[in-house]
């Protein structure tokens, strides 16, 4: 299953790109996807405690089971206003 991942705000600078695609097996959780990601983007791994995760337009946590068609977003704490 190929899951597109978008990095927002300075996470894109830390990753060196704004988007990537991660291949995970069926039934994989976000936790699993993050493990893959953090291997490729160690600078993001350092931010894991202050990382927000969304699938589509909803917040999700590590236990969320990914489905085909899901789009994942990773970003730092929001700062509107």
């Amino acid at each position: 299953m190929m899951i597109p991942v978008t990095f927002w705000s300075y996470f894109a600078e830390l990753a060196g790109c704004a988007e990537t695609v991660v291949t995970v097996s069926d039934g994989a959780t976000i936790e699993v996807l993050l493990k893959h990601l953090y291997t490729s983007y160690p600078a993001l791994a350092e931010m894991r405690r202050s990382t927000l995760i969304a699938v589509g337009v909803e917040y999700q946590d590590g236990e969320y089971v990914l489905k085909a068609g899901d789009r994942v977003s990773l970003f730092p704490p929001v700062q509107g206003g």
Partner: protein, 136 residues
């Protein structure tokens, strides 16, 4: 609840928003908030803030907040404009208006929306320092 949401690159036209305000005869309070970019961000002097936004999610999260407010039943109208892109010092990045029967509800709803926005709506700030060269 009437609602108006705009996430926009355009300057916030407060006068136009004011002119477009409508309040029914049962409403007694309108509370507005205008958030303006300050010359200082932390300890650094800045000339502007670059706001970035994951727009579809931001709209969705704003509407979730508005849904929660609507369930309280006390707000007649909520209008919110958040500017994105480069916003110069002295310009408004955020404008909110809440119309309600009573002022207590209007003040609390307005502050609640701002607090919740800062928790869940995917918008980020990047200060533009005085020393940086302007973006053409």
């Amino acid at each position: 609840m009437k609602r108006f949401l705009s996430i926009t690159h355009d300057p916030i036209d407060e006068a136009g928003l004011l002119a477009a305000r409508s309040m029914s005869a049962g409403m007694g309070a309108a509370v507005y908030f205008s958030g303006v970019v300050r010359a200082q961000e932390g300890s650094e002097l800045i000339v502007a803030i670059d706001y970035s936004c994951f727009v579809p999610m931001a709209e969705h999260q704003f509407h979730r907040l508005f849904d929660q407010l609507e369930q309280r039943g006390s707000v007649e109208s909520l209008r919110l404009i958040h500017r994105i892109g480069r916003v110069a010092v002295g310009e408004a990045s955020l404008w909110i208006e809440v119309v309600s029967a009573h002022r207590g509800e209007a003040f609390s709803a307005c502050q609640w929306v701002i607090d919740e926005m800062k928790r869940v709506v995917p918008i980020w700030k990047k200060p533009v320092l005085v020393t940086e060269k302007p973006v053409a």
